[in-house]
Amino acid sequence: MKDIICLKGISYSYYDKFPAVCDISLSIGEGERFAIIGANGSGKSTLLQIMNGLIGQSSGKYFFRGNEVSEKTLKDKGFLRFFRERVGYVFQDSDVQLFCPTVLDELLYGPLQLGIEEKEALDRAFEVMQILNIENLKDRPSTMLSGGEKKRVTIGSVLTMNPEILLLDEPTNGLDPRTQVFLVELMLALNDAGKTLVMATHDLSLVDELHMQVALLSEEHKMVKIGPSDEILKDEDLLLSANLIHEHVHYHGEEIHKHRHSHFLFHKH
């Protein structure tokens, strides 16, 4: 599998004071399903933003298809276009991503920015609305959408650009079970269609369902381990040390019962 993304010793600090990611190195192959997992504040979202070239790393090197990505290289018009049309980013907070007057405008924004003909952009928008079941929301302003609808529109707004790689920040966060299932099916379908999926999450059931390659970040913002989800999710000591599972105390009748608890293993087949 050819590497599409390669990070070498990436570090980033907010305000040059608070470290967010420390010395992260990883490679993501073409068509891979890759998850970055870690507790709140471990640096998952920051790492994803670096991968999308939205913030520049403080140190280390980032390569996309063998080309270095930095604040300097992204100033080249040719490279910026090459990069943006291939890498799509779905924000955790849908509200910040929805900035156009209506849902249709939102879906058209990306392709029009890429210089795609209006007719083709409209065709793309309608096809994406169909797959996401949001055709009825076409003329609605984003402020009048529910949480699940907003998430579908944000994904749609990126899909209309037809990126090779989708970066998803906590995609299932705050969604109802039906929308979560819909998202899992959509991601599998997109991956089957050849898209590379990279997501930052602490939803271990999602990682388990999608059988992903996993990078585990510690609360100290460092890489702890990279491996297949089966291997990482089995290692309870590792998950406990990264604050992804916890000790749980409850009663069985009169008896106090204590065990390690995670929220994803209850449905093993």
Binding site: G78, D95, V96, L114, R124, I131, S157
Partner: protein, 308 residues
């Protein structure tokens, strides 16, 4: 689901390489503006960090500092000669130095605002059209004097000695007031300032507006910054100034709507936790010996400034 994936999503990019663009991409005015906005958050953090440090002025009780600020701003406004203003300025500078603040950053701001709101605004009043007196710098010579509305426009227009002195006086007052305000702001955590104002009987409704506005500035800056990142992630080229203006106009309306929703949610959250139009504080400490000594010293120095 698999069969429903649109055909265009199966298309792959034609090439794995790119053609370098001609020339670099200039940073748009939006980007620059957003960077300034992001600086608001950084400044807030710096303010919190310096105000919480353990230096000379930071240790003094916020109530003493607020009274110090009011007293000295009154003195600055009452003084009528430039040497006294220079002396007060030097005193504030020494306090800033003792409190280990970043002097360059603080005075950069002070000079910037003093130049705009003191010097530039007052500069026209130095002309003999407004302030009569001895012309020290002639600027224009007219063929005859004119009368316009309440103004008598003389034959020779220029800067007068009295006018220039007035402008310098006003600029130095603005500069000193700003230096004092920034000095207190940079050495006192925001929550302590609000507590002190509450103890000094400032109305609750005013404090509430100040507190919420202060908090909102940060939320607003963060939302705008995130929104800009979201736009940036879908931009493949330069944004022209016209497009930038259109984007901002559209986003302003959206931000207004979102702010309104956020405002309603915050108010509901406040009501949900028992808010009843009164601000309640805890942990208001007694003044210590250090605070009394500092109050006495600042008072005596202030009276000296008034006297000289």
């Amino acid at each position: 689901m698999k069969n429903k994936v649109p055909l265009f999503l199966l298309e792959r990019p034609s090439s794995d390489s790119f053609i370098p663009g001609k020339g670099g991409l200039k940073i748009s005015f939006i980007e620059k503006g957003i960077h300034h906005l992001a600086d608001v958050i950084k400044t807030g953090y710096i303010q919190w960090e310096t105000a919480s440090s353990d230096n000379f002025f930071q240790k003094i009780d916020a109530r003493v500092k607020i009274l110090f600020l009011l007293f000295y701003i009154i003195i600055v406004s009452l003084k009528k000669n430039i040497p006294s203003e220079v002396l007060i300025g030097a005193f504030v500078f020494v306090l800033t130095f003792l409190s280990r603040l970043e002097i360059f950053n603080l005075y950069k701001r002070v000079l910037f605002f003093a130049f705009i709101f003191g010097f530039l605004i007052a500069l026209p009043s130095a002309l003999n059209v407004i302030t009569k007196g001895e012309i020290i710098l002639p600027l224009l010579h007219l063929s005859k004097p004119y009368r316009f509305w309440i103004y008598q426009i003389p034959e020779e227009i220029g800067l007068t000695r009295e006018g220039v002195y007035g402008v310098l006086m006003l600029t130095s007052r603005v500069m000193n007031s700003l230096a004092l305000s920034f000095f207190v702001l940079y050495t006192t955590p925001f929550t302590e300032i609000i507590k002190a104002l509450k103890v000094l009987k400032v109305p609750d409704s005013f404090l509430m507006i100040v507190t919420l506005s202060y908090k909102y500035v940060f939320i607003f800056a963060k939302t705008i910054e995130d929104m800009h990142l979201a736009m940036k992630s879908r931009l493949a080229g330069k944004v022209s100034n016209a497009e930038g203006r259109r984007w901002i106009a559209g986003r302003l309306a959206l931000m207004f709507k979102k702010s309104q929703q956020r405002c309603e949610e915050i108010f509901k959250a406040m009501l949900g936790r028992g808010f009843s139009n009164n601000i309640k504080f805890y942990g208001v400490k007694k003044l210590q010996t250090r605070d009394w000594v500092a109050s006495a010293v600042f008072f005596i120095v202030g009276v000296l400034f008034l006297w000289i």
